[in-house]
Symmetry: C2
Subunit: 84 residues, 2 copies
DNA sequence: GCCTTTTTGTTCATATCATGTACCAGAAGA
DNA sequence: TCTTCTGGTACATGATATGAACAAAAAGGC
C-alpha cells in the first residue's frame, strides 16, 4: 500500500515552531548548516540550534533520519531534492 | 508519475564495489558509522572510509544526500527505515 | 604455462572539519 | 509572562580528506 503522510500521531509537527518548520525541509534536502544560514539569512550557529531542536522534538538521531522522516510525512518530495 | 529506479545513466551503481553496495543502504537508513561497523564486523574507521568512497563515486556532498539518492534509485524503501 | 606489472578491493590510521549536545541570554511580540 | 527568534560559548561526537598496507585478481608479454 502507498505511504500516506502517515495519519498522525499526537502530531509531532505541531510541536515545531514556524521557523523550525522552515528549517526542516532544508535539512531534509541534504543542505548543511552553512547553506541553511545563507538561505535564511541567519548565522550557521542559529541554523545549528534549530536543527538540534527539531531533532530532539522529533526524537531522531541525525540529519539523515530527519530527511527520512520528512519524506514519510510528505513534507518534502524526492523530486525536489535535485540529488542525482 | 511514479518514481522508477531512474532509468540509468552510465550506471553509477556499477562503479561501486560489492562491499560498498553493502554499506550504501545502511548509510541511507540513517545509521552512523559505529552502527555500520557493528553490523558488518569492521571498524568504525573502515565504515567511514567506505562512506567517503561511495559519496565521491556518486558525486554527493553528505550522507543525507546519499539517502536521497538511494531512495530515488529504489535501493532502499522508506518503509524499511524504521524512522518515526 | 609462467612471470611481472597494474589495478581493484578490503582494511585501518591520522588530521581536520562538520555536526551534535548542553547550556546561556538578549530582543521582540502576543 | 511566555514564546519565538536570534546568536553565543564550550565540549563531545561524527563526518570528511587523505594516506597506506596488504591480498587477490586482471592484463600483458615472454
Amino acid at each position: 500500500m502507498a505511504q500516506l503522510p502517515s495519519t498522525h500521531r499526537p502530531n509531532l509537527l505541531d510541536q515545531l515552531s514556524p521557523r523550525e518548520r522552515e528549517i526542516l525541509p532544508l535539512v531534509a534536502q541534504g543542505k548543511d548548516n552553512r547553506e541553511i544560514g545563507r538561505i535564511l539569512f541567519i548565522s550557521e550557529k542559529t541554523a545549528k540550534n534549530y536543527v538540534t531542536s527539531i531533532r530532539k522534538k522529533l526524537g531522531l538521531k541525525n540529519r539523515t533520519q530527519i530527511a527520512l522522516f520528512a519524506l514519510k510525512e510528505g513534507i518534502i518530495n524526492l523530486d525536489d531534492t535535485l540529488v542525482n
